[in-house]
Each structure stands twice: as structure tokens, then as C-alpha cells.
Amino acid sequence: MAYSDKVLDHYNHPRNVGSLDKSDPTVGTGMVGAPECGDVMKLQLKVNDHSGVIEDAKFKTFGCGSAIASSSLATEWLMGKTVNEALQIKNTAIVQELALPPVKIHCSVLAEDAIKAAISDYKQKQTSRQRETATA
């Protein structure tokens, strides 16, 4: 099966590969997997404390080209968005942008799941942080 040019571009030049400090309270980490193909995807985002805007996003994916491209694209899209805007990112937009064939749609779903998991981790950290400041 042939990959689209955009998938190949992200696959050959993945954006924002790497990791952020997991223990940083402004960093949210999402780790998701697809047992069907054995893929595992880690996506992290760092939210600016004052503006609430995502100022950094990193990923590392072990999987097929489409899974790597989906998560690479997701990190590009995350940067500059607020957390609520980021939650609006839909897998269908990733499918469209990368021209993913039907058999690879689950890769885009995985990327959307990773975003949601990272944001939920970030929010959880924020809640426990507020609780600590409240009791302090």
C-alpha cells in the first residue's frame, strides 16, 4: 500500500520527537496503544501557566508510518492552542490532512486518544495542585 506524500513527509521528517519532564505539573502525558497492530504512542504537552496555551508538544511512537505521521501532525496542531481548543481536534481532520486510507483510520483515532489522555493527565495534575495550594 502506498503512503500519501504527507504521511511520507512526517515519517521521514517527524516533527517534535522527544519527551518532556513527566513530573512537571504543567506537562500532561498520554500513553495509548492499539493491540490490533502492536503500536504504542506517547504524546506530551506543556501548558503555559499564565496564558493556558500549549507551548510545547512532543511525541514518540513505535508503529507504522501512519501512526507516526498522525502523532507528528497532532503535536504540530497542538502548539499554540488552548487546552479546550486542543480537545476539539478530531481524528477525521487528521485522516483528511494525511489522506489516510480506511485501513489506517485507527492510527488517527490513536492520535486523538493520545491527545485526550495527555489533557486528562494535565487536568488531573492541575486539580491536585489546586488542592495542595488550598490546603497549604
Partner: protein, 206 residues
């Protein structure tokens, strides 16, 4: 009891005992082979059944029969091949039983993967990537990694064997959930094993 499509008399057999007409094939693979839905099965018995049925159902034998009978023999031959390929392999057999019970190992199942497993697989992948990037000295650690993953896979297979026995003794959701968890884990380990073997092959030719 269902009735024969041709003569209207009662039949539950593959061929109507009254008029001899071929009947539409059972869609369930175990029913098709007239086997109980067990996860441990005798594959040589399965093979015998497969060859015997191949001889009975081959479309060539129906070339002078009615269109309906030709169609049923084609359908039955197709089910026969799918059923045999699925049931002779223990992993595919287990996946089939899971899917028959509404527990596909399908897409969008990330919520069913335990986070510890993802962490573990991620770390193993990271370590493997480092080894792969290394020079020829990395062959020994790669071989060690291959042995480690093989050991993990063997352990999963032993676990599956026990889980199959548990399901056969007491079929139910608990037993199926345990099998699905093992099959999920196995896919990740199998991929790691495949990657480490590919890395070793690449080093050997480099």
C-alpha cells in the same frame, strides 16, 4: 428442526437424509465441523475432517446438479476453507471464539490495554531502538533482547494454554477476558521480537 430446502422434510444434516440434497452450510465454524466449541482441539482430527469434507463438498461434484445445489456447494467450500484456516491455528481459534462472544481484539481498544503494559512495551521499544542505532558491538545485547522477548512470548503461550483449559472447563466471560488480555500482550511482544530479529538480520548483512 430445520427442513430441507428441496424436499421439505426435517433435516439437520449437511445432506438431507431423505432426498440427498446439499443443505446451506452452518456459519459457525465449530458447528460446521461438528465439533464442540472448545479452545483445545485435536488438530489432526480437524485435518481429517477437513479432507473428508473437501471431498464431499467440492463444487466439481455438483456440476450436473441444480443451480441452488451448485451455489450451496460453493458456499460450503468457502466456509470449509475459512473455518479450517481459523480453527487449526490456536491464536486465530481463540480470536474467533472471542469475536463470537462479542470480544473482538479490534481497533479503538486502547482503553482495554493496561497502562503498565504500555509503559513496559514503550520502555522495551526505547531500549531496542538504542541497540539498533548502536554499532556492531550491539549484536550481543540484541541477541540477549531476542532471548528475553522469546522467553516472554513462551510465557504468554504457556499462559494461553492454561487459559484455554480454563475456558474449556468453564466457558464464560471471565475466562475470555483473561484470554483477550494475554492475546493483547502477545501482539506487542511478537512485534518486539519481530523488530529485534530484523535488527539482527540487518547487522548480520552489514
Amino acid at each position: 428442526m430445520p427442513t430441507c430446502w428441496k424436499c421439505g422434510q426435517e433435516t439437520s444434516a449437511r445432506f438431507c437424509p431423505h432426498c440427498g440434497a446439499i443443505q446451506p452450510p452452518a456459519s459457525n465454524y465449530f458447528d460446521f465441523f461438528e465439533l464442540p466449541p472448545r479452545l483445545h482441539l485435536d488438530t489432526s482430527d480437524l485435518e481429517h475432517r477437513f479432507y473428508a469434507l473437501s471431498r464431499q463438498l467440492h463444487p466439481d461434484l455438483f456440476s450436473r446438479k441444480s443451480e441452488q445445489e451448485k451455489a450451496y456447494s460453493t458456499d460450503a467450500s468457502a466456509v470449509l476453507n475459512d473455518a479450517y484456516r481459523t480453527l487449526r491455528d490456536p491464536l486465530r481459534r481463540a480470536e474467533y471464539v472471542l469475536s463470537q462472544n462479542g470480544l473482538e481484539i479490534g481497533e479503538q481498544q486502547s482503553k482495554n490495554v493496561p497502562p503498565e503494559l504500555l509503559e513496559e512495551v514503550f520502555e522495551l521499544n526505547m531500549a531496542l531502538e538504542e541497540l539498533r542505532a548502536g554499532d556492531a558491538d550491539a549484536v550481543a545485547p540484541l541477541e540477549a533482547a531476542a532471548r528475553k522477548f522469546q522467553g516472554m512470548q513462551d510465557e504468554i503461550d504457556a499462559g494461553l494454554d492454561a487459559a484455554f483449559a480454563a475456558y474449556d472447563a468453564a466457558p464464560g466471560k471471565a475466562a475470555l477476558d483473561a484470554i483477550r488480555a494475554l492475546l493483547n500482550r502477545r501482539r506487542y511482544i511478537r512485534n518486539l521480537l519481530r523488530d529485534v530479529e530484523a535488527a539482527l538480520a540487518a547487522k548480520a548483512t552489514a
